[in-house]
Amino acid sequence: MLASVLTLGGIGLFAAIALGIAAKKFAVEVDPRELAILEVLPGANCGACGLPGCGGYAKAIVDGSMSPNLCTPGGSDCLEKIAHIMGVEAISADPQVAVVCCQGDNQKASQKYRYLGLEDCNAAQKIADGPKTCPGGCLGLGSCVRACPFDAIEITAEGLAVINRQKCTGCQKCVASCPRSVIKMTPLTATTHVLCNSTDKGGVVRKYCQVGCIACQICKKTAPEAYQIDNFLAQVNYDMAHEAEVAVEKCPTRCIRDFSTGYPEGSSFAAPTVPTKKPGQAA
């Protein structure tokens, strides 16, 4: 009885001392700022900063290799806190949101064939370059929805991806998931966008889509500073984005949309009440 108590107690004592010494000797030095920053980061591990997770980013901020303003999900609140911890000035990066540059859902854009396979845009794109006739149009099979860590994307009943501007944090995961590069990053403050991704000539676009850009130049004539036409596709010049809105009504195919007045047809998202919302105060 006594022997076993002593033996067990002895082993316990020895292990405790050994562990205690090891803990002292091999202690990992963590900068307290790193822990503090990790505390204020959103913890979504979304990768928007360019690193795989928040922990890595916190470390990178502390060792000075990355700027504190790269966390788009955290927004300005997070930036201010990090700047406070690091004792630097908070210089915010322009917040960005992702926009699906296509309005050609199954009603408005034609399909080459009926696709019955795997519900995945990347898988569908491998079969004769995807079912949609338009080589740039949204396939609507939801690869971006599954990629989005913030539940900010929906597929409408007619098969079009739409991104909620309040929920989008600009992490770009959807951009990477899209096989047709339909999703583009745009400044949050710009609400007017050309929702078309087809670089075909106007006559060709008309054959397969009712709402595609036909490169008619009317937007450019209406607001010359705000638009440019490249490869038969109008693009908003985001430096002059505030002037782009006047062309919305003029576009004959209605492919220019101002998001402050609402989302594309079929979307369940309500029109953003404050179009220039500050990042970080999201739902």
């Binding site: 080459k112 064939y113 019955l116 396979g117 795997l118 995945d120 990347n122 898988a123 491998k126 079969i127 004769a128 370059d129």
Partner: protein
């Protein structure tokens, strides 16, 4: 009933879908007339596409070279009639995309290029025979279109002892090989002799499924005097797949990731053998092939001898047109064939069949969740776990999927066919394969 009927060989796994061959199996091969335009794609084989060597306005004869082979795994392309090149531009290819093609307007004379000369295979060396096969653009005529000369060039350390001729035609509906075996027996046997000479071997076995007793009987009768065996096989898909056929006939299993030459076997389709005979004896390149045009969507199913580049629409016209609205157009067999966007693309070297189905002929295809019944595992001729690979592929977990050997999948479609939940298993596996291959390339 037939030779060795009591001794039907086969492989493990596979299944037998309703074969639908009765519509065209009894129809003798007819020659398809000359269309108004021939669209000859430069990519008609596995490997690098050929390079155009003619321009708009060039006058060509039947059999003239119009595209040069680019690289070892590549073959040249030839004009399939005489006439004038009217365009060299991308045209809709059976793959579903516009790919470079040479468009020829026939002059109606259909005369062969006079530079093409035949030779007696007895007088040629193995190397000369091989170069004739390459120059004639011979590819696997079963549908895979792998360049024939590559299969005939095994590295010296590989000892080949058996040549297998694939007359299985296990795909439902197709009857082109069946008709060739009945009507072109002599050309096939001549091709086999040439192949044996190139490989320097004696043993040749023709594998034919037991649902073609007339072909087995005719081939066996004529092959006996030439020391060529005919092996009747149990009726089962995918017996015509190279590795399954080798297993069925020789009992040898080709190891994962290797070619049939690893077990001393070379496999060629019976149609390829016939084309090789023409290439050597007559000097004629591969410019036409037999295609089964069948399915409930055509009025008169037929087996046609078609010039490469003839549009599918023209082929359907030769079969008295469409019977109702086509809902699905398939080039090749229903299990592994390629669905077509329209009847616009041309018939190419790998086109073994053209199948047309109406809406009422097609099954309902609404996928449900996997019920873990394991039938896909039972029918897989490679003995993979299709449902597991597909589940990982759906989650984009390609490293995990790779542990289940998706790269060995031959994409025969048995798992998708048998799946009671109608899951797109083959497509998921193909998706995983593409992702794994892409990753391997970047490493």
């Amino acid at each position: 009933m037939s030779v060795k009927a009591m001794n039907l060989k086969t492989f493990k796994g596979g299944l037998h879908p309703p074969d639908g061959k009765h519509d065209s199996a009894t129809k003798a091969i007819e020659t398809c007339p000359l269309p108004e335009e021939l669209v000859i794609p430069l990519a008609q084989h596995i490997g690098a596409p050929a390079e155009a060597c003619v321009e708009v306005g060039t006058r060509v004869k039947k059999g003239s070279l119009i595209g040069k082979a680019k690289g070892f795994v590549s073959v040249p392309v030839h004009a399939s009639t005489s006439g004038e090149v009217i365009a060299v531009e991308p045209r809709l290819h059976p793959m579903g995309k516009a790919l470079p093609a040479i468009v020829i307007k026939p002059d109606g004379e259909d005369c062969w290029d006079e530079n093409l000369t035949g030779a007696d295979p007895e007088t040629l060396s193995a190397e000369e025979l091989k170069s004739r096969i390459l120059d004639a653009g011979i590819v696997g005529m079963g549908g895979a279109t792998f360049p024939a000369h590559v299969k005939l060039s095994p590295p010296p350390e590989k000892q080949i002892d058996t040549l297998i001729l694939n007359g299985v035609e296990c795909e439902p509906f197709l009857t082109a090989d069946h008709r060739i075996m009945l009507e072109e027996t002599e050309r096939i046997l001549d091709g086999i002799d040439i192949l044996r000479k190139v490989l320097g071997i004696d043993r040749a076995v023709i594998g034919i499924e037991d649902n073609k007793p007339d072909a087995i009987e005719k081939m066996a009768r004529e092959a006996a005097s030439r020391n060529i065996e005919v092996q009747a096989l149990e009726v089962k898909y995918p017996q015509g797949a190279e590795k399954q056929l080798i297993d069925a006939i020789t009992g040898r299993q080709v190891p994962s990731g290797t070619l049939p030459m690893e077990v001393g076997v070379v496999v060629h389709n019976v149609g390829t053998a016939a084309a090789i005979s023409d290439a050597v004896r007559l000097g004629r390149p591969l410019v036409e092939r037999v295609i089964s045009i069948t399915g409930p969507g055509v009025n008169t199913p037929k087996n046609l001898l078609v010039r490469i580049g003839t549009s599918l629409e023209f082929l359907v016209e030769q079969c008295d047109g469409l019977n109702g609205d086509p809902a699905k157009i398939i080039m090749g067999g229903p299990m592994m064939g390629q669905a077509q966007l329209s009847l616009e693309p041309p018939a190419i070297r790998g086109t073994s069949g053209l199948l047309i189905f109406r809406k009422q002929d097609l099954p309902r295809l609404e996928s449900g969740p996997c019920i873990r019944c394991g039938r896909c595992i039972g029918v897989c001729p490679i003995h993979l776990q299709p449902t597991t690979i597909a589940a990982y592929a759906r989650l984009d977990l390609f490293d995990e999927a790779a542990d289940y050997h998706p790269l060995d999948c031959i994409e025969c479609g048995c798992c998708t066919y048998i799946c009671p939940a109608t899951l797109p298993l083959v497509q998921s596996i193909r998706y995983a394969k593409a992702a794994i291959m892409a990753k391997k390339r970047t490493l």
